[in-house]
């Protein structure tokens, strides 16, 4: 884990620490069984490919939301807060993919005494394809003085 980020020290254009996610079939099965999401495209390869014409077993798009939540939570640190995030599903996340999840600061504003950092987010697979582009807003602590 990195040290706490403070609002004053973050600059527009700065990239935040990335996380890497191994979208293994086991991780997908853990997820769908925990939340009771029994869509066969998430665990049955012949059904996904032959019946649905998908390129493989696909991860639930929801997992992308969790990956961004983790990325932003780690950037916010112990003293910050994840306020908002949004994302669009553009390409499937497939079993076996390794994702690099990252973001870049695009804007800093102070609202009601809170230092808000707006970010552009990406979730790239091993082929460099951004599967789930997104945006986020994180409140960072301010240094006193």
């Amino acid at each position: 884990m990195h040290d706490q980020f403070y609002f004053q020290e973050v600059t527009e254009g700065q990239e935040i620490p990335v996380i890497r996610k191994d979208v293994s079939s086991v991780a997908i099965l853990m997820y769908v069984s925990t939340v009771w999401l029994m869509d066969r495209i998430h665990f049955d390869h012949p059904f996904a490919t032959l019946r649905r014409g998908l390129p493989g077993v696909v991860a639930p798009g929801n997992m992308g939301g969790d990956y961004y939540a983790q990325l932003l939570s780690e950037f916010a640190g112990e003293e910050g807060q994840v306020r908002k995030m949004s994302f669009q599903f553009r390409n499937f996340m497939l079993a076996g993919d390794v994702l690099e999840v990252g973001g870049k600061v695009v804007r800093k504003t102070v609202v009601d005494g809170h230092g808000l950092v707006e970010l552009e987010l990406w979730m790239k697979n091993q082929n460099g394809i951004n599967c789930v582009p997104g945006k986020g807003v994180v409140a960072l602590p301010m240094r006193a003085g």
Partner: protein, 177 residues
């Protein structure tokens, strides 16, 4: 010829509620397993001792877990009631007439967080259909249906607001194709 949206007659459902549901108490086991599935190793999700020393004071769920904290109403059915795809219902698609004339995929989401979900919480979700639009896609007409879900806990505190846009395309075997 009218638009697909006119044929479907769905515009009148914008602004209508899609139901309010309250879940069973959130289990530590579910939160722990969920954190393992997403491989988020923050100990506040699975280690009560570490969580006690954190700013939360107890185990909390990963942020996006709130969207699952109620469970999916109608999803828990016996095998004989499931479709061959394994589903009894589909997350995010409102129950409006002829909704299954279209095939659905998730388009995009937007979520704002207010309070954390904690073990033992009973979360309530209340949904509203907030927008329906028609667009021209690469391979034909698309219908974009956006719902907003407000999540609250047993104390009436707002946990999150979540907007989900589902994209529908006419099925080849449906009357609107």
């Amino acid at each position: 010829m009218g638009s697909l949206l006119e044929q479907l007659g769905w515009s009148k459902y914008v602004g209508t509620g899609t139901g309010t549901y309250t879940g069973e108490p959130v289990l530590a086991r579910d939160v722990r397993r969920y954190s393992l599935a997403i491989d988020d190793r923050n100990p506040v999700y699975r280690n009560p001792e570490a969580a006690r020393k954190s700013r939360y004071g107890a185990v909390v769920a990963p942020l996006f877990y709130v969207t699952w904290a109620v469970g999916v109403p109608g999803a828990e059915k016996g095998l004989e009631e499931l479709g061959e795809d394994g589903l009894a219902t589909f997350v995010g698609v409102p129950e409006i007439p002829n909704v299954w004339d279209l095939g659905w995929v998730r388009g995009g989401e937007e979520i704002e967080f207010f309070e954390r979900v904690r073990v033992g919480d009973r979360v309530t979700v209340s949904g509203t259909l907030v927008d329906i639009k028609e667009k021209d896609g690469k391979s034909g007409k698309l219908i974009l249906v956006t719902s907003e879900f407000v999540y609250t806990n047993q104390d009436g505190k707002k946990l999150a607001t979540h907007r989900l846009t589902m994209i529908g395309t006419p099925r080849k075997d449906a009357s609107h194709a």
